[in-house]
Symmetry: C2
Subunit: 248 residues, 2 copies
DNA sequence: TCAACATATATTGTTAACAATCAATGTCAA
DNA sequence: TTGACATTGATTGTTAACAATATATGTTGA
């Protein structure tokens, strides 16, 4: 009757790391699920359009469906998943238009953050930023894509933390997460990822407290990221076994 | 046993308008509740700290508790309510620190929006902005505080719409809503509300397409609003019968 | 071979009953 | 009167069963 055969669309979620999301585990199943799904998306283990079945999640996280439903409602409010009535929950698949708006919003917010960061940067902050870049380089040399993505996002979130505004921090967290989703959907074949050097340049400009340069580099960095997208090529958003075997 | 005596903290929610929130009714109880609560907060019918009991909401909206719980989870994700385990849901009560961060974020986002709006403004947009100001003035002359608040927020949201970025639009919606909450908590006695003229000035600057002036006026407008706050005076956040009778 | 239809299975949505927890009231002794 | 303690009632949290819906499978007829 009910023999939960590992759902192929869920392979990534079985990563043991998942049950210990970045947010401290406060024993509330809803929070754990939300954190785990966000982490999985941030590291591109969960692709856009992936189905998040209620039973699958309740088995994975050892909780009842009521908690799963609450988690999915919260994720929908954060624009992380889309809830289609009587169909279920799916990882959000931003359209080309949404993608452009998300990147535009990112530039606006990261500029503000950069301006604050220049004012408030200190030795400790510099050290943490450099450590983040080092971690990113290490991950890339090891061809560990999830770790690389995590580090790259971490760099931007560190800047937001240094800016000292938790509201903007949260907004940026949403935008970086959705950016990862967008890159997964629209990234060109073999996109360079050369933007890593950009981070080093930004830190140098921060050390020099050159506001104009920091703003310019931040803006260019984000535009370069967006330029790597290809909205022409149609993207598969529905991840089903059939699509995975026979392609789009 | 169960005789739901109208909860005093819920008086405002019995406003018939509430069942038809701004978002079109799509028959999903969760969405309706979320919209109604946000509207009620935006018009200062629901104060910070007000308790949102599950049974009370399920009776008000004719739905089961499961849907109420989903709605509350969504509202928590939007930072509209705070969910205290085993205690219930309460309208968020931003601290002084949070308030400052929210207003700082607002200035950052509204500046970006204003810059875009200057570029994209047209005759239709001007007309709608002027209509919004007229509605605000009318509401004030009628001493209809909820309508005045709604119109004032509407002006800012109209600008965001004109800017043409739905992400920033959503961010600003959250921030204006929380601003209303903050004003309800920390506003000085008899605060002027003279900022209404600011709106007229901004529209004039928009017509002239004077970007620098628009940015300056927007920034001043928001700082003036923030200056009307008094964080020293302690604020009652827990709305209970006792507090209402004996004061804070 | 293919399309349309009917059936079966799985998934989501709803409801009610029960358990656990908290707030309030009442009692009693110091 | 006041403080600690026990009890009561109300509220939140959990669970399981059931209903409604959608998806997948299988069948039939051209």
């Amino acid at each position: 009757m009910f023999d939960f055969t590992p759902n192929p669309t869920f392979g990534p979620l079985q990563n043991p790391d998942l049950k210990v999301p970045t947010a401290a585990m406060d024993a509330q199943p809803e929070t754990i699920i939300v954190g785990a799904v966000i982490d999985a998306i941030s590291e591109q283990r969960l692709p856009a359009g992936a189905k998040l079945g209620e039973q699958a999640l309740s088995v994975l996280f050892n909780c009842n469906r009521a908690n799963v439903r609450r988690a999915l409602a919260a994720l929908e409010a954060k624009h992380v998943v889309e809830l289609r009535p009587n169909r279920g929950a799916f990882v959000a698949a931003p359209s080309a238009d949404e993608a452009r708006e998300i990147f535009q919003a990112r530039r606006a917010i990261e500029r503000t953050i950069a301006r604050q960061a220049v004012k408030r940067i200190d030795a400790d902050g510099i050290a943490r930023l450099k450590a983040s870049i080092a971690a990113e380089n290490l991950a890339r040399s090891r061809r560990d894509k999830p770790a690389e993505l995590r580090s790259s996002q971490n760099f931007h979130m560190l800047l937001a933390e240094l800016a000292g505004n938790r509201v903007l921090q949260r907004f940026l967290a949403e935008l970086t997460m959705r950016s990862t989703l967008i890159l997964g959907m629209y990234a060109r074949e073999g996109h360079s990822c050369a933007h890593c050097d950009d981070h080093t340049g930004i830190v140098d400009a921060l050390i020099a407290r050159d506001e104009a340069l920091v703003l310019d580099l931040t803006d260019r960095h984000l535009r370069r990221l967006e330029a790597e997208l290809d909205f022409e090529r149609p993207v598969a958003v529905t991840v089903s076994l059939k699509d995975q075997i026979f392609g789009s």
